[in-house]
């Protein structure tokens, strides 16, 4: 029988074709395969989503969000020592060091609809923080703050920048404790108080097993990281502090704590470096979650091709396609 005579060749050609088709798909899939748009209609917002493949979607109408920043800046300077513990590495995985994390975050933000993230070094950070902070976000995952913007005093550039409206996303170690100056790391005792009004950072390695009280975003934003190390203990915050805890909780600290600081905001992210933490953080930045953000409504469904829907009006509409395994996001400001 001829089929069986040539079986190895037939199978080889078949499997070759399968792999090559897969290669083409991997190389050509893009963010542009998805789309979303909104139009305001009174107290409702109509939305339209597009997806080439079949996926679940979720549309969140949010109020009191921080508008999607024009620019997200991620601090990384290999000339300034960081204060980050080495992350656990799975077998075969590339170590998630600071440099790699920064690169990863840029790409993850692109999936979340932010294509303008820029990496800044200590000098560029100084220049950035010398101007008004409104509408700008800085992500610091170095565990230390460069001496170009922080000297451990109240009038440090970084503190004035946040007060002017800047947003600081912090992770990796105790906020305000370490100042990096080239190769040397200076410890500033009680540095956290300058940022949050109290020494309130948890340093034990802890994982949360429940969700933060009253929080809805852990589910809506598909949070995965539950490590709360370096998270904020809100009971230690000053009474006057305006804050919000979301994500997973160990009973004391949560994976995300947002604290208002002047006209700006500080978001302290719990946990040591992990891919889950990176994905959660990208959602939080892209959705513009802040200390007073509330959910107005959420609409879930399935999209293949295009789908239309309507949702109650808020300040912004955050679209997630793909669910936990997010393939596309976009934040639309409702004007």
């Amino acid at each position: 029988m001829k089929f069986f005579d040539h079986l190895p060749v037939i199978v080889a050609v078949l499997i070759l074709a399968i792999v090559l088709v897969g290669e083409v798909i991997v190389s050509t899939d893009s963010h542009d395969d998805f789309s979303s748009s909104i139009s305001v209609d009174g107290d409702r917002v109509d939305f339209e989503l597009g997806s080439r493949n079949n996926h679940v979607y979720e549309v969140l109408s949010l109020r009191n969000t921080l508008e999607t920043p024009e620019n997200v800046f991620i601090y990384y300077d290999k000339g300034h020592i960081s204060a980050v513990d080495k992350a656990d590495v799975s077998t075969g995985a590339r170590a998630l060091d600071e440099n790699y994390y920064v690169q990863q975050l840029v790409h993850t933000l692109e999936v979340r609809g932010i294509n303008t993230a820029k990496i800044v070094n200590a000098e560029a950070l100084k220049e950035l923080m010398s101007s008004d902070g409104k509408g700008k976000s800085v992500v610091m995952l170095s565990g230390s703050i460069p001496s170009t913007v922080y000297d451990g005093e109240e009038d440090s550039l970084i503190l004035k920048w946040i007060e002017s409206g800047g947003r600081l996303y912090w992770l990796g170690n105790v906020l305000g404790k370490y100042i990096s100056s080239g190769d040397s790391l200076i410890t500033k005792e009680n540095g956290t108080t300058l940022f949050l009004g109290a020494e309130c950072i948890q340093t034990d390695q802890v994982w949360g097993t429940s969700t933060s009280e009253g929080d809805v975003f852990w589910d809506l934003l598909y949070f995965q990281n539950n490590e709360t190390t370096y998270g904020v203990d809100p009971s230690k915050l000053p009474d006057s502090a305006e804050y919000k805890c979301i994500g997973y909780s160990d009973g004391t600290c949560s994976t995300f704590t947002f604290v208002t600081h002047g006209s700006g905001m500080i978001c302290v992210v719990g946990g040591e470096y992990s891919n889950n933490q990176r994905m959660d953080l990208a959602h939080v930045i892209a959705a513009g979650i802040g200390p007073t953000t509330v959910l107005v409504e959420d609409v879930k469904g399935s999209v293949s091709g295009s789908v239309k829907g309507t949702i109650a009006r808020g300040d912004s509409v955050y679209v997630i396609i793909g669910g936990l395994y997010t393939v596309y996001c976009e934040n639309h400001e409702v004007i």
Binding site: A12, G22, I25, N54, V89, S90, A93, G323, L324, Y325
Partner: protein, 438 residues
């Protein structure tokens, strides 16, 4: 008899196919090793999000499996599989020991069917090889059945969600294609095997030795053809990574293993593998040398035997159960073509690998607990507490039994192989010497 029919698709084969498919459907729906399968879903999301394989962390193998996942992504998108999985809040306590994100049973079922393609193709090539050498259809069909309804093959595909059967497929295809003088294609398959999971690289010595022994006069031409095929495939497969600057990331499966590790166990693992793998490479070279020096009238048949030896040697370093699939097709072939004494260790290997693989059974049943409520959460929690209690626990005992039995079966296979080659192991080891004296 069950298989006694000249047609390939006789009644017996239809039953075997049905059993294999139904077993995979059932196991695929009920069980899921989420640490791996949810990682596949994340990689699929990375692909669809436009980040290819390595721009965003999550994929740590060479590219071939990623390309297969690319195709799988497209399949899921077109069959209406819109929800891939979710976080299970009730399981968050398992982190960091285990992940708490699970793919849905439907996703697992579709993935199982996708992985089954390789099981089916490997079984077909086993059939083809046995038929080619024995002209015995019954024996060839038994070979097909041994693989397709092999317990560990089913569980690795359906419960493990692992792609090692593709590894076996590329390896056995390279062997079959060399025998049929399709050298370029053989080189391509070998390269794809290596770029899937590296282990088939161990066959390099025996494959080259075959060309040399088979065609002393024109082996160089055939070798160049095979190398050309391999190089073409490597370039084609690696091209996207070369162009987008992620080439080194695509090799992290090798480089990260040789990188930093923490803890006594990890250090032991690292240094023992650094010691053992050079020994394995030397043994592979020796097997190839021995093959070249062996007097034989039927080079192809002898080649199959030595390929089998090459595959066994890889596993003198204890492995996880899924890797065993690389050796399984060749073990089945020798059990049916060379020496029936291999059947018992083969059966033990099948059972042992399955026990080893299911040591995470509680975690593997998490999907149906979370999505279907098939097991009440409190019962599931009780099971988890037993399996992962502090100190000696059920997981340790179960995996130790599976691992030890699996390794015993490898030793048994080696023992039978040596006996089959005329090496009296007992005499060499002086076992039963006193009895001989009497």
């Amino acid at each position: 008899m069950f298989f006694d029919d000249k047609r390939f698709l006789c009644k017996g084969m239809i039953i075997i196919l049905a059993i294999g498919i139904i077993a995979r459907v059932v196991v695929g729906l009920l069980m899921e090793y989420n640490n791996d399968v949810s990682a596949w879903a994340q990689i699929m999301a990375n692909i669809e999000g436009g980040n290819a394989l390595y721009n965003v962390a999550g994929y740590y193998y060479p590219p071939v499996w990623g390309y297969l996942l690319g195709l799988f992504t497209e399949i899921t998108g077109h069959i209406g599989l819109d929800e891939w999985g979710n976080m299970v809040t009730e399981f968050v306590f398992m982190i960091p020991r285990n992940d708490a994100d699970y793919t849905t049973p439907t996703f697992n079922l579709v993935l199982t069917m996708f992985l089954m393609i390789s099981d089916l193709l490997v079984a077909l090539i086993i059939y083809w090889l046995i038929l080619r050498f024995t002209d015995d259809k019954v024996k060839a069909k038994i070979g097909f059945a041994f693989y397709f309804v092999g317990l560990h093959v089913i569980f690795i595909c359906a419960a493990g969600g692992m792609f090692d059967s593709y590894s076996a497929l590329f390896a056995i295809l390279a062997v079959a294609l060399l025998m049929t003088r399709k050298d370029v294609l053989a080189g391509m398959m070998f390269a794809m095997g290596v770029l899937l999971k590296l282990f088939p690289a161990m066959f390099i010595f025996i494959l080259v030795a075959y060309l040399f022994k088979k065609d002393r006069e024109c082996w160089k031409i055939r070798f160049v053809k095979a190398v050309a095929g391999a190089v073409i495939m490597i370039v084609v497969v690696m091209l996207p990574q070369i162009l987008d600057g992620t080439f080194m990331d695509s090799l992290s499966f090798i480089t990260a293993r040789a990188g930093d590790v923490d803890g006594v166990a990890a250090l032991l693992l690292k240094y023992s593998s650094m010691l053992i793998y050079p020994i394995i490479l030397i043994l592979e070279a020796f097997i190839a040398y021995h093959f070249v020096k062996t007097d034989t009238e039927d080079v192809d048949r002898t080649f199959l035997w030595y390929v089998f030896l090459s595959s066994v040697v890889i596993f003198i370093y204890p492995s996880t159960p899924q890797y065993i699939l690389l050796m399984t097709p060749f073990l089945i072939i020798v059990a049916l073509m060379y020496d029936r004494r291999f059947v018992k260790p083969l059966l033990l290997l099948t059972v042992a690998s399955t026990i080893f693989l299911t040591s995470s059974i509680v975690v593997q049943l998490g999907g149906i607990t979370a999505f279907w409520g098939a097991i009440p959460f409190d019962i599931w929690h009780s099971m988890y507490d037993i399996f992962y209690a502090e100190g000696l626990n059920a997981f340790m005992v179960w995996s130790a039994i599976g691992g030890v039995l699996q390794y015993i079966s490898i030793i048994w296979v080696i023992y039978v192989a040596l006996e089959a080659m005329g090496i009296n192991v007992k005499r060499k080891l002086h076992i039963g010497a006193s009895k001989t004296c009497e």
